[in-house]
Subunit: 321 residues, 2 copies
């Protein structure tokens, strides 16, 4: 796609645990360029930054003209927003203590904005996905763990140490499954893809360890115990979402991640719990829906970050209200 001369654009980077994805976007959400690149995480943060800078430079050269509003980076971990230093990451432990923002800024000489990847995904869904028509939403991402992002008034709710949105560690069953965080009954031990697999093991559905996908296939084939696993997942999600509805009174709550195809198996018990546990849900037009951008949500959300701060770009973004 061609960018008009002097047009503003932005670059989003998604630093996954396995590869590096980059997208250049216009303020109205048009993709100018989008590419994936492998990067060797074994070479440490300096090696990753080197690879990232190379790809970003390639993209800016490809686009040629226009004004770069900045580079937004979704990172799978906690970031100290003031210093731009990585506080910790389960997927990329080698980055802990690394001054990622300043290092990249030195190389690229443009605005660099870091964000937790689940937060970026929530912002992406708000910008271009299922949340286009609202200013406030919560995204719950079901994966190995459960992450989440809260968008309030069009902006990510970060908290005072950038640790807001830890939806996976809400307690849903006070005496539930033990979690690595030290708690019992965290949502992610009752509704993540890993929890689905583990519960199928507990049910004795198979002797070998199943994946969530295989449990879903069994449910599709009519296996009543596999169906029961998803019913339990729905209960846990429903308790958590009812609490979110009571606290935030936002119009929209989104689910994304691997277990989403099993929606029809977990949604009935989920909605039963939400309706029972939140009078706000029943008395307002609150929606609980599937996210639509899949794994691109974080990439687009990262690209949106510099645009949110850019005076020219923000004019071009249609407001939902």
């Amino acid at each position: 796609m061609m960018l008009s001369a002097m047009g503003v654009y932005s670059i989003g980077v998604d630093l996954g645990g396995t590869n590096l994805r980059v997208a250049a976007m216009t303020p109205d959400g048009q993709i100018l360029e989008k590419l994936s690149s492998s990067t060797c995480y074994e070479h440490g943060p300096e090696g990753v930054v080197h690879d990232m800078v190379k790809v970003v430079r390639q993209v800016t050269e490809d686009i040629g003209r226009g004004e770069l509003a900045g580079v937004g980076i979704g990172f799978p971990g906690f970031i100290d927003m003031e210093s731009g230093v990585i506080v910790g990451s389960a997927n990329l432990p080698g980055f802990t203590g690394f001054p990622i923002r300043d290092t990249i800024q030195e190389h690229l000489g443009t605005t660099i904005i870091l964000e937790n990847d689940a937060n970026a995904a929530a912002l992406g869904e708000k910008w271009l996905g299922a949340g286009k028509d609202v200013d406030d939403l919560v995204l719950i991402t079901l994966g190995t763990g459960i992450g989440g992002g809260i968008v309030s008034g069009g902006k990510i709710l970060r908290g005072f140490r950038g640790m807001a949105g830890e939806i996976g560690h809400m307690t849903v069953f006070p005496d539930g499954n033990p979690c690595g965080c030290g708690n019992c009954g965290c949502l992610e031990k009752h509704a993540s893809a890993s929890a689905i697999a583990a519960m199928a093991g507990m049910m004795g559905i198979a002797t070998q360890r199943f994946s969530a996908r295989e449990v879903y296939d069994l449910a599709l084939a009519g296996n009543p115990r596999a169906k029961l696993v998803f019913e339990s997942v729905g209960r846990a999600l429903g308790i958590a979402i009812a609490n979110l509805v009571s606290l935030f009174n936002f119009p929209l709550y989104l689910l994304s991640g691997g277990p989403l195809p099993a929606w029809d198996f977990f949604a009935p018990s989920m909605f039963t719990e939400i309706k029972k546990r939140s009078f706000t849900f029943d008395s307002t037009s609150t929606r609980v829906e599937k996210a639509v951008l899949g794994s691109d949500a974080g990439l687009y959300g990262a690209a949106y970050l510099p645009l949110q701060q850019h005076p020219l770009a923000s004019v071009a973004i249609p407001s939902p209200r």
Copy 2:
């Protein structure tokens, strides 16, 4: 207190279930005048508005000069913020459907801002109370029920229908005590003053129905069963607050209300639960404390509402950051 000529001031009104309180305040939180008045709620909303308008006019005459930024009103119920109509109130059912904002505006001809009373109390604690040094906090008010208010970025988080902050209806025990809202295990059925009294009854501490205050007196006297009631209250509060910490990552969570003197009896189990259930609490300087303004919090918060919108007044308010 004298107001300087041309100085900006604001009036806050607290419409309790039993009386009407009014305060005139300067932008830096000085009280110019503060008074209580009885009002006959049996005469319906028109009668209450009549009484309120009379008191507000008396206050503006007393002050004489200065610019009135507006009148903020804390109301014990749900308000449709766009229309200024009362959606519902457990304490003042006669107000449902009443266009309270426009009716008062017609009489007084100044800016009228309505707010839920628990939200106003949270804002009051942020402005002049325990939250003076932060921009983000959650207030939990323990009374007959449990209410709450969330202040995010210095402003009340309202939600899209003004129903945010329903902390009392968070589920803490999925199979816990039944609640009038249709749920089981709502926080307010395990930690409100009414719940304390009811649990003491369950424990067989006395045959007659005790008040929360009497249960507290028994605990003070060393009664082990009364102490157990407060330990249970602490557990419920701890589960709820841990969830708030995981979601918001705010620096401050405040408790207020009648059971506050029993802090030493419920706080130990409360902090045990928070520490166990929220890694965010342990890894940041998160504080859980007593609110300090008591029943004045809502009155001051109501007065702050018009000042937040007033261009001259906002200049005079010292920013915590």
